[in-house]
Symmetry: C2
Subunit: 227 residues, 2 copies
């Protein structure tokens, strides 16, 4: 429990150190990601992160240079993981309306499942995006999300169910807004309005609202089905 010494396979009982650079790196990054997401950049404590690690504080400086370097890697890590998850969605064979519906639902659920990512983005925005500036890695994560939405939109316009003149990036912006806010502001919103917006029923309603809202926004009037 208290000892963190990694042992090798020796049978003579002498506690020898086993070297595992990649493992140590990953371990530190995982712990740091949680701590930063929970407490923010200035709120997180290097000593605390080190203590939760299988490794030590010195190793943080060895591998990441310092607190800010570690935070930057944690931020990059959060973006990378979420982008990887997004890539799994495939709507290619679906009708445009169904595809867009699926996309919104997926985004809603995905954001909801990755609160740690949402919190990192919030924290980074609090810091005016200055660390994102320094990261080539994040800029290089080519934004497939836009391609995806653009293709669905084009198909919808071509088949006459979506109206013309909309901007895929703005569409993505709106979908993000509806899905992000639910996670980012749930706490204060729930408290002020005395309702739990994290309950299964509430989430279900909000999710349907989001889908409805986006579909009504892009659809041509005569393509709307209800009301």
């Amino acid at each position: 429990m208290t000892k963190k010494i990694k042992r090798n396979g020796k049978t003579d009982g002498t506690p020898t150190r086993v070297q595992d650079p990649e493992g140590t790196r990953r371990d530190i990054l995982e712990v740091a990601s949680k701590e930063f997401a929970l407490n923010g950049l200035s709120g997180a404590r290097i000593d605390e992160i080190a203590a939760r690690t299988k490794s030590s504080k010195r190793m943080i400086y060895y591998y990441f240079g310092g607190k800010e370097g570690l935070y930057l890697r944690a931020l990059e890590n959060a973006y990378r993981m979420v982008r990887e998850g997004e890539a799994k969605l495939d709507t290619e064979g679906m009708a445009p309306v169904d595809a867009l519906k699926r996309l919104v639902e997926f985004t809603f659920d995905h954001h909801h499942q990755h609160e740690e990512f949402i919190r990192m983005v919030m924290i980074e925005n609090i810091h005016h995006g200055q660390y994102l500036d320094r990261s080539e890695a994040i800029r290089d994560l080519n934004v497939t999300a836009i391609d995806h939405i653009a293709r669905i939109y084009q198909r919808g316009v071509a088949s006459g169910v979506f109206r013309r003149g909309l901007d895929p990036v703005e569409l993505h912006w709106q979908i993000s807004a509806l899905c992000f806010f639910n996670v980012s502001n749930r706490r204060t919103f729930s408290k002020i309005f005395g309702r739990d917006f994290g309950s299964a029923e509430a989430l279900d309603r909000l999710r349907r609202n989001a889908v409805d809202m986006v579909l009504r926004f892009v659809s041509r009037r005569d393509a709307l089905q209800n009301d």
Copy 2:
């Protein structure tokens, strides 16, 4: 420049202290609000706040008890100021569609003009709303926003232009999401998509999108005007 001693009206030159509890309080709170909004709770420094004040660190502890007490008051202050601003909107005489349009536009602009408030809400959400919990003052700020939107919605339903079955609180949630996100996530969004979402043109487009989106969401199909 360097001396912060407040002097009274005496002519003999002796530097005597002038007491001004309310002024001191307000001064501290104003400075603290800026610092907390800029740096967050853990990022803000009591010494820094004290230095920017006309007063001293001692006074912060005298009036606010400590860092957390000061933060709580700053949070309450932010909510109060914004709520007061919201109360100025009057849509009573307007047609429901125009009223709702006005409400969304107003919310969009209002959020945009009060970035400090947005940041405080983000920061409070990072802290899981735990300070909001402790504040009766904020809970007591009865949420007139809901009344306002509920009245517009009811009028719209009554006159047949809005569809039935929508929840005013959820409507408020959606409007908030669209308007909040624009301020809260502008930095990261702009950076990742290589576009300035803070430019006048971008804001204008996003604003119109938000209005359009809400109106299309609440309107009955046959009441939609274009496309």
